[in-house]
Symmetry: C2
């Protein structure tokens, strides 16, 4: 900046004023400064600036998602980025991998870089770092899952109700022996979805002894193995509720390998790409990750602009998309 000032023949503060679009600069002076900026390929050092700037804003956000290569997270990320660029804010993104240690590490990395706000997916029911974050007055919004016991801004789906709807959908098509394939139960959403599943069985008066539940599934491969085993058992399920996108993919593979994709019904939680192109089409409960991201980032910016209203937990809508796999009737016994 000093060099620019020298080249433009002005004081350093004038350069600062110009590059920050402050008022009270003569147009002629401004254009001389811009010329110097271009001549030197100068880019302000936002980091140095934020050191002194009132409020210490860095024009930077931290985003923590399950994994940056998961399509659900990708959609959230895109929504966050779009709102951020509009405001000249850049986004640090990290992957959680459902590991509380990795979560703590990522948040700490964000804190060390003095982000202005956090959008977090959490693996910990009670994250240790929250105290430090809140005490600093840093806006935090949880997406997809939220810590228990805490009144915080959060944007999630109603996992329990949606899972109940999915299961009821299968029941309404005549199924009674319905399998649940779910993620690790230490993840809140997995628990919620299991509860919804059980709610639906309860309302229909179906004994849970009929319902094989396999949990602690974490990827497509383990889900495929689990379902293959169920299908080969003596009382195989006539329908499956797969409670997460990767699990649905594994379930699809297992059904395909067993040649049962037209015989065993399937409803998945979370939409998956090409779900409409497989045969039969995959019936899913679709969340709206785009909207989750959008609402979350707006919440962060609102907080940054001084909104001090009480914490808000926004529930974004889900919808059941029937495509065929969820409408298969059970084989007559």
């Amino acid at each position: 900046m000093k060099q620019v000032a020298a080249l433009a023949g002005v004081g350093i503060k004038t350069v600062s004023r110009v590059v920050n679009h402050e008022a009270n600069v003569a147009p002629a002076t401004a254009s001389r400064v811009w010329d110097a900026v271009r001549a030197l390929d100068y880019h302000v050092d936002l980091q140095a600036g934020s050191l002194r700037r009132a409020g210490g804003r860095t024009r930077t956000l931290g985003l923590l998602v399950s994994s940056v290569d998961n399509p659900f997270a990708g959609a959230i990320h895109r929504a966050v980025e779009d709102a951020a660029v509009e405001r000249g804010v850049s986004v640090f993104t990290s992957s959680l991998d459902d590991d509380p240690l990795r979560e703590a590490y990522a948040v700490s990395a964000f804190l060390q870089r003095r982000v202005d706000g956090l959008i977090l997916t959490t693996a910990s029911p009670r994250p240790q770092y929250l105290g430090a974050v809140l005490q600093r007055g840093l806006p935090v919004v949880y997406v997809d899952r939220k810590p228990v016991d805490e009144t915080l801004d959060a944007v999630t789906s109603d996992n329990r109700a949606a899972a109940e709807l999915a299961t009821a959908h299968l029941i309404s098509h005549g199924h009674r022996r319905i399998a649940l394939l779910a993620d690790r139960l230490d993840i809140g959403t997995a628990r919620e979805r299991q509860r919804g599943f059980l709610d639906a069985l309860g309302h229909a008066g179906i004994s849970t002894t009929l319902a094989p539940m396999v949990t602690e599934l974490h990827d497509a491969a383990s889900a495929q193995v689990a379902l293959a085993r169920l299908l080969a058992s003596e009382a195989p399920p006539t329908a499956v509720f797969s409670a997460q996108n990767l699990i649905t993919v594994g379930a699809l593979h297992a059904l395909r390998v067993a040649g049962l994709q037209h015989a065993v019904a399937l409803v998945g939680f979370d939409d998956i790409p090409l779900a409409d192109l497989v045969e039969p089409g995959v019936t899913v409960i679709a969340q709206d990750p785009q909207q989750i991201g959008r609402v979350a980032v707006e919440r962060v910016f609102a907080r940054l602009e001084g909104d001090t209203s009480p914490a808000r937990h926004t529930i974004t809508p889900t919808k059941l998309i029937p495509r065929g796999s969820g409408e298969i009737a059970p084989a007559a016994e």
Copy 2:
């Protein structure tokens, strides 16, 4: 840091030494400092530090990809992140949207935040910002595409050869009237893929008048419309080479709607999720985005560690995965 120093009863420099794991601190002193750090939930300000630090490193990287919600980009991103966390480096990610303006803006945002290195996908054949970047000695590695005329580190696939392979595969199954569906030709990879397509036709002695080529396609919807139109024409293609993942998805929809998915052959560039579950399976040329990201980030870190060897253009392997759609023979005429 001053507060920590006060609480621990040491000088500020000692705190700096401890949190940066420097030598020459008495174990007893160090543990007193750590206690204070924990008591105050203190996190170093890396930004302030890098202001004075030799080399001015910020432990930060800038990554520019097509779009953060594209699975191809997600895989690259993940590989970059994994290598970065290992080194305590955080990653800024932005989406390019194949817009040179957005590209320039993103790079400028990275520069203003003083990233240590850049991993870029480019939409500009000759990016303006390169001068400023190179002059600063910032390591840049291009992924997926690279600017022309520049000797720079880059990691790409051999798009031309892979496209030729895909097309030759269709020809070897008896096709002569093969359609090309491609992206905007101002994108280098789209041009390369078209060249490879033409190479294969040339080698087989097939006149290009037989080959309907639709370019400037940019998403699934436009690709679907384009293929639907071709299929309805008086001399419809018996095979299709779709030169990008979203275009492949659009092509699949068009074939499905026309009921021709078992009649018209299809090979896609880039693997797509669930490609093996649709009927018939989708034959694709698969790149290895994970490896592209891994090689690129290693290159950046090597440069940061002082590697001054000449720029290297790494070609990562692609492979043709036959799954059914590419092995359909043309209908007898």
